[in-house]
Amino acid sequence: MYSVNTVIGQPGSFAKERLGGTFDYRWPEEGLQYIPDWIYTSPEIYQREIERIFHGPTWNFVALEAEIPNPGDFKRSYVGPTPVVVSRDTDSSVHVFENRCAHRGVEFCRAARGNVKEFLCPYHQWSYDLRGNLQGVPFKRGIKGEGGGMPKDFRNEDHGLMKLRVARLHGVVFASFSKEVEPIEQYLGPEILKDFEVVFKGRKLKLLGYYRNELPGNWKLYFENLKDPYHATLLHSFLVTFGLMVAGSKNAVIADASGRHGTLASAKPDDVATAVGEVKNEMRAYREDFKLADGRFLNYVREFDSPWSVTMQTIWPNLIVQRELNTLGVRHIVPNGPHSLIMHWIMFGYETDDEEMTRHRLRQGNLMGPAGFLGLEDNEAIKFVQEGVRRSPSDRGIVKLGGDSMGTTRSVIDEGAIRAMYANYRETMGL
């Protein structure tokens, strides 16, 4: 069910949400090995996140260029929870502006995607060009003989749509409300840029399709999930049962200098493919009778110049880049209040893929997504966390694995990437 369907545990039914009154938001004095529950449940903290993170000096994913290839193409999108329109002008430049008419505030762009010559608000037919500039105001000079109309000093230039800064990097479009945020390459940093480029640089993407879901949990839980290699073989028994995580895989948990971005990376040993029989003795959870009837979809086609067969990137504050063997996609996080997050998944391949490669990607896609062998379990776990933190008398969680390591680690039994994320978060949020 959606979070709004909750019968037991309606928003506001727990003191831990800290509605009304004043609450002194102090991080536990023990430091980063503890995470206070109120970061997931407090509407005040959520508001501060929107102001300081999503509307602050960050780059937010809004679109893939492959979604809006032609002049006049547009899509609805979001920066944080704020609706925006991404549009390609006739000169091929890309623009992002608020999805809100300058007149009375109508969210005028209703179709998910499309192609237009101008944007028209249906209420009073105010029109905007593909850059968000106000063009037409019907009856601007009133009606002859009747008067009315806009004041003489009304200028269209003063009443355009709020525009965001745009950065385009290898076919990925980012937007920011901030004038101060550093250029996108610097924002990502070299460690993250490296694996980002493996997926996107020099590639023409071919869209394969969309998934969308609402997870009844705080948006930060999704980031944590992909900075948490610890759960991989424990939650996702599919991985061990069917030989996807093999003894001898190399792993790495990579963070950027700020600690807010990360890459979970792993590499299958060269000759694994589906030759599980060779290593079965090393895998405690492997069972002879647990065999895939059609193991094609676990094959790894070596198409990347990278030591890793899997890179899952978390790019703060709203993007996940998925390279899981040969299934590729981006996940766009839209926070929806403290207890809910919406995810837009865009799955893709490359223009150079032949039909068999495309089909391989589609088959392998069964691993991920809201019905994925791995994907659905994360969604379930996140729901359980949100329910637990909202309703329990205890008020904090612990991240002690790896002691006080921060950021990049080689061990997967280490929560250093989560600690690094919250070190950065505390600084941004003044906690």
């Binding site: 069910m1 959606y2 369907n5 909750t6 019968v7 037991i8 998910a112 869209l207 394969l208 399709g209 969309y210 998934y211 969308r212 879901n213 609402e214 997870l215 009844p216 939650l235 028994s237 599919f238 049962t241 069917f242 647990f290 895939l292 009837a293 059609d294 979809f297 919406i342 799955m347 495309t358 089909r359 589609l362 088959r363 896609g365 069964n366 997504g369 809201p370 019905a371 062998f373 994907g375 659905l376 379990e377 969604n379 379930e380 776990a381 729901k383 359980f384």
Partner: protein, 169 residues
């Protein structure tokens, strides 16, 4: 509309009995899923079956991705097996409803039909909700007198999924 299923329906008078047979198939299929007998679910398909669940926005745009994507009975069996033996998910109760069956085409090769489906889900301490609403685009073949699915495209209207889709439709 779905490519390959956009013909006008067959004359209902000529296909009345076939429609009833298809409805009986649906009732049996739904019962298997509702009972949680997931390992019997593959029995409804041919060896070379195609089974895809995808959002209406993908079908309308001709995009090939599947929320679930299987192009062999073996893949269908693997999903059933994984759901039974490896997947972690909160306990739930499901009720599948299939209605509005229209026979589109019936010949020696195959039978094409289209119907609507509704999936109601109840989680522990939760209300019963409409988890997914969609359309089936089905191609049946007869194997030893029995109807089996050679293709089932499940195109859902509920584009924004409530968390996840655990069990198939």
């Amino acid at each position: 509309m779905y490519p390959g299923y956009d013909m006008p329906p067959a004359d209902p008078r000529a296909t009345r009995e076939l429609r009833m047979e298809i409805e009986e198939f649906h009732a049996d299929y739904c019962w298997t899923l509702d009972c949680g007998d997931i390992e019997r679910w593959p029995d409804y398909f041919t060896d070379d079956a195609v089974y895809r669940i995808t959002a209406r926005e993908n079908a309308d745009a001709g995009l090939p991705v599947g929320l679930v994507y299987a192009d062999s009975k073996a893949m269908i069996r693997d999903r059933a097996f994984a759901l039974k033996h490896t997947q972690m998910y909160a306990p739930r109760s499901l009720q599948h409803f299939v209605t509005n069956v229209r026979v589109l085409e019936a010949n020696d090769q195959h039978i094409k039909a289209q119907s609507n489906y509704l999936l109601l889900q109840t989680l522990v301490e939760g209300p019963t909700t409409i988890h997914q609403s969609g359309r089936y685009y089905d191609t049946f073949v007869r194997v030893n007198g029995r109807l089996l699915l050679k293709e089932r495209q499940c195109v859902y209207d509920t584009v924004l999924i409530a968390n996840d889709l655990v069990l198939p439709v």
